[in-house]
Symmetry: C2
Subunit: 186 residues, 2 copies
């Protein structure tokens, strides 16, 4: 049910997703909707955001952290992201909320989502020998490129923009050599 809900918010934004649309998309009447979400629309959105965050944690962040092979973990991340965002056809709801007017309502969850992503990726990069600072900046850069690619791909309506950006991002991450003096074991 949360996934149908998520698609409505994705397609119409928080404000744009009216209860009528939500009801239609989920097949649930108002009675049921307010039975499962006594907190109303805000609770619906909060749970959707939570479920997205949870998905990324288990499917992307955790594997990324645990990977004994950081290169493979990073490759899996890019593959997972490409699948999740349907090669750019699907938008990032968290990013949409971050830019939109409902940001204040969900600021904590939005921030946590991105911080966790950067942290997980930075950890993998440190395993590759990068210093903490460089790893963090590289991770930040990669995450931001994904978000930007989603915006641009959607704006010009060309999903190739998205896949190209993913490939460039992945390649640069693999090609950037850690400074010798900063290499360390973790």
């Amino acid at each position: 049910m949360l996934s149908a809900l998520g698609e409505v918010f994705r397609a119409h934004g928080y404000e744009g997703a009216s209860l009528a649309l939500i009801s239609e998309a989920t097949g649930l009447g108002k009675g049921s909707l307010y039975h499962f979400f006594p907190g109303g629309k805000e609770q619906m959105a909060a749970e959707v955001l939570g479920s997205i965050d949870a998905w990324f944690v288990t499917e992307i962040y955790r594997p990324l952290r645990k990977a004994s092979d950081p290169r493979g973990g990073i490759a899996d991340m890019f593959a997972g992201v490409d699948t999740y965002f349907r090669s750019g056809r699907r938008v990032c709801l968290i990013g949409v909320v971050a830019l939109g007017n409902a940001r204040d309502l969900f600021a904590d969850r939005v921030k946590e989502y991105f911080v966790a992503w950067v942290d997980a990726l930075a950890l993998a990069l440190r395993k590759l020998g990068h210093s903490p600072t460089v790893a963090r900046h590289l991770a930040e850069q990669a995450v931001l490129e994904i978000q930007g690619a989603l915006v641009l791909a959607r704006a010009v309506n060309d999903r190739k923009v998205f896949s190209r950006a993913l490939m460039r991002s992945h390649r640069r991450l693999m090609l950037t050599r850690p400074e010798r003096s900063q290499r360390r074991s973790i």
Copy 2:
């Protein structure tokens, strides 16, 4: 008047910007609003998007194209962008619309904005000796990084994320050397 209007749309999105908010922000009553914008809210948004596009054309794209010194032109672009987006505190309305539910209404203008940006930057990069394809990809990458930086900076509420991204983007553009065999005069 368009600038006050723009800030309302920026702050609340297209759907979120109610006529009440618009009226308050502009100091204009409904009577005046519908006198100047007979097309209603949609016309208001269209004119705002148009004025933003026009600003970028004259302040960013055109100088970028005309610059006899491409390096300087690119530096001016980054400086202009940093100022315009108030170092990440201000969001890109065109990007917001691109992600939001009003995208279809303004798809053409949104696309044109980004295409023109990529084109102008790619032209400057060609003057630096890059092949058309490489120039286009580098330009696409830079534009997308700016959009992503806006998303991420706002999501984690840290404008340093934005300025760091701008610096990295600028630096990489300057440091990427064109392939000898592809250098050409224009």
